[in-house]
């Protein structure tokens, strides 16, 4: 992530912007999906599960943001977030459809 | 909160002294390994004791909050005093420890 001394090339700026977008929007989606998963999977009452899911969501968000800036390239940032979102969406979907009679 | 604060502050001073760099700054000489060990033990014990003092006085909910507040404040106070008044910092710890039985009596 180190920049070269001197003029920062456009490609660098684009990469940074890409990571920021992945972190802000991808991270939000990940957090929302994470909270939904928790809400659907926790064995407590509906209200308790909802509150717990929401409270924990920000940790998901944090982890997504850290990943987006720690990984080696902007592509990896998107790949990681998208992959995690997919997994969480699958889990949430399964939990949702199996819960309904 | 006073007892917890006195114990906390003394505990932090002990932990501070248990570090080579601060020990030599404050007391002019390096500490032996044994002394460092006992300072560390003493420091942590004092912190633990201060937690007990806080919880005993105000229950777990409020006591824990008060302990955290006292913890942060005493650490800030010590770090601010160290560069400007190292002697004062040490003396305060000593006086605090001496005064703590009085504070304990006042509390219970």
């Amino acid at each position: 992530m180190k920049s070269n001394v001197g003029a920062t090339p456009v490609s660098y700026r684009l990469a940074v912007a890409s990571r920021v977008l992945a972190a802000v929007f991808g991270g939000y989606l990940l957090a929302a999906l994470g909270s939904v998963c928790l809400t659907l999977l926790l064995p407590t009452s509906r209200i308790e599960a909802t509150v717990s899911g929401m409270m924990a969501s920000f940790v998901f968000y944090l982890l997504a943001v850290l990943w987006c800036f720690a990984c080696r390239s902007a592509w990896r940032a998107w790949a990681g977030v998208a992959g995690a979102c997919l997994v969480l969406a699958l889990i949430a979907g399964l939990a949702y459809w199996t819960a309904r009679p | 909160m006073l007892l917890a604060m006195l114990l906390c502050y003394a505990g932090f001073v002990a932990l501070c002294l248990s570090m080579d760099r601060h020990h030599s700054d404050l007391l002019g000489r390096k500490a032996s390994a044994g002394r460092r060990q006992s300072l560390r033990l003493g420091g942590w014990s004092l912190l633990g004791l201060s937690l007990w003092a806080a919880v005993a006085a105000a229950g777990w909910g409020l006591g824990l909050v008060q302990w955290c507040a006292v913890l942060m404040l005493s650490a800030l106070l010590l770090v601010l005093l160290l560069p400007y008044g190292p002697r004062l910092a040490l003396w305060l710890a000593a006086l605090g420890l001496l005064a703590s039985p009085l504070a304990a009596v006042a509390q219970f």
Binding site: A32, L38, T50, M54, F69 | M19, C68, A69, M72, Y84
Partner: protein, 524 residues
């Protein structure tokens, strides 16, 4: 890879800290002031008497007043006086038409006589409280921005912790008179030593608005019916609708007494009466949130307003609700007594200073690189101007708010709005001033002005307070003294800015030089 991780976290910390730092500084400073919002409001309405009160008589007076002036209202609210807020406050909402929110009216009553208090119109400390999470923006954008800033603060805190390699070794380290090194030591000390508070305040601010910013769980679990969620989470709002037939409200004294017994001597917070003139009137008695650390959103006892019958006692909090309540309660600090409240204030100032020192360091490090050329590139000049305006400018604006409160005539129309306008106008002027004056000079002038304004507050109070010179009101005295102290601190800061102490020249042995080089690389 480990080295790369720390460095990327350092990059994240540096840039997230800068971009949101100016806003976060404002949020932290106003939020910190909000811990004393009752005291600030008291100073800004010196006409309101501060005297010992009994809740029972004030309740009867409040009920009488509302019966007289707000009999057609849809809801009444009564806030009984307590140690920090000596006035009896009543509020009512106009009749609720379907799909519309009735307008709210609020009045302050003298708790001894029940008559309206003729106090100057002002937002008081509530202004700082509201600003720190609404940012003077239309609903709900301010809250979204503030919560977004809180998320960035969370990221900055965690990335800062990860980056701070010597977090334990440097725990007690603070080396003054060493230029940039001292600023960094200070930033680290304020961050690490007060870390429990910073983490708590940041995460709790996210939890407080979580149902607004992260509604996915609610929508999924309740199939889009958010009303059902809120009714379950806040049972005090779940009341019987109006029957349309008139009914006479019983005196609320016995109901409140019954509630107090249920809570084994707990304090009453606020009382909400729904549909007061109706047969189905209900009285909700809420517990004072200062009774416990963990805020209980659902802690309410409901009565039938006409018969006085106990309808419902809210159940014990579930664990997740207690956790959420802990976040809320810890953030708001209502439970805090005087000593603890001051500690909250100090911690808040530490957080504010942590952000401020970070912004100064960000600029200082890059300024060094351009020191030789003498010309600052536009981006750095922009950061410098924003630093000055968002920090010293904001402080001057706060002082201006207090001065406006005393200088604006009491009978001026829209007085409260004009006090707020003064705050923003002065803040905007400080931005202009910072843009026009050369760096250091702008700092000195703004800090100096702030120092003058704050230090003169006791004099201002003396000259403009209706009570006159001698008053045993220690709340007012406390406010005056704190302002004086702030003025002294700001004067010191201005002086330091004008006469920067050059770093103590110390012989730099080779080891030291190598270490400082390594330091530069690490911090970068």
């Amino acid at each position: 890879m480990k080295e790369g991780f720390r460095q990327s976290m350092a990059w994240l910390h540096t840039w997230s800290g800068l971009v949101l730092g100016w806003l976060l500084f404002a949020i932290f400073l106003t939020g910190t002031l909000a811990y004393f919002k009752a005291e600030i409001s008291h100073w800004m309405q010196p006409e309101v008497p501060a005297r010992a009160v009994s809740t029972d008589s004030s309740l009867a007076l409040a009920q009488g007043y509302l019966q007289q002036h707000a009999s057609g209202a849809g809801r009444w609210f009564i806030n009984l006086p307590d140690a920090r807020e000596p006035a009896l406050s009543v509020m009512w909402q106009g009749p609720v038409k379907p799909g519309e929110r009735g307008a709210f009216m609020e009045k302050l009553l003298d708790p001894a006589t029940g008559s309206e208090i003729q106090a100057r119109e002002t937002r008081g400390g509530e202004f700082f409280y509201r600003f720190h999470f609404q940012l003077q923006m239309p609903h709900p954008w301010g809250r979204w921005l503030a919560t977004g800033a809180a998320m960035v603060m969370f990221v900055a805190l965690i990335s800062g912790i990860i980056t701070h390699k010597k977090i334990f070794k440097d725990f007690f380290t603070f080396r003054p008179h060493k230029g940039q090194r001292s600023w960094l030591d200070g930033h680290n000390a304020l961050g690490v030593l007060v870390l429990p508070f910073h983490l708590m305040i940041t995460y709790s601010s996210l939890v407080i608005f979580m149902s607004m910013v992260m509604p996915a769980s609610i929508l999924t679990a309740y199939n889009g019916d958010t009303r059902a969620f809120f009714n379950e989470a806040f049972p005090g709002t779940n009341n019987a609708p109006a029957a349309g037939k008139p009914g006479v409200l019983m005196p609320m004294g016995p109901m409140v007494e019954q509630a107090r017994q249920q809570w084994s001597g707990g304090r009453i917070g606020r009382i909400a009466v729904n549909n007061p003139g109706d047969e189905n009137a209900s009285v909700n008695v809420f517990r004072h949130s200062g009774d416990r650390v963990v805020h209980d959103f659902g802690s309410v006892i409901s009565f039938n307003g006409v018969t006085g019958q106990l309808l419902r006692v809210s159940p014990e909090q579930s664990l997740p609700a207690a956790i959420a309540g802990s976040f809320y309660g810890l953030h708001m600090g209502v439970f805090a007594g005087p000593v603890l409240r001051w500690l909250y204030f100090i911690c808040g100032l530490a957080g504010t200073a942590m952000i401020g020192t970070g912004l100064v360091i960000w600029l200082g490090k890059r300024q060094l690189k351009h020191a030789k050329s003498g010309v600052m590139p536009f981006e750095l000049r922009l950061v410098e101007v924003l630093n000055i305006a968002s920090m010293s400018g904001l402080v001057v604006a706060v002082a201006a708010f207090f001065w406006a409160n005393r200088l604006l005539p009491v009978s001026v129309a829209e007085r409260a709005d004009w006090e707020v306008n003064s705050f923003f106008m002065v803040w905007a002027l400080s931005l202009l001033h910072a843009a026009v004056r050369r760096g250091r000079r702008a700092w000195v002038e703004q800090l100096g002005l702030a120092a003058l304004l704050f230090a003169a507050v006791p004099l201002l109070d003396l000259l403009t307070s209706p009570a006159g010179l001698v008053t045993s009101d220690w709340m007012l005295a406390g406010f005056d003294l704190t302002c004086l102290g702030s003025g002294v601190f700001l004067a010191w800061a201005a002086w330091k800015m004008q006469h920067p102490s050059h770093t103590r020249p110390s012989p730099q042995p080779r080891a030291e030089r190598l270490r400082s080089l390594a330091l530069k690389n690490e911090v970068n």
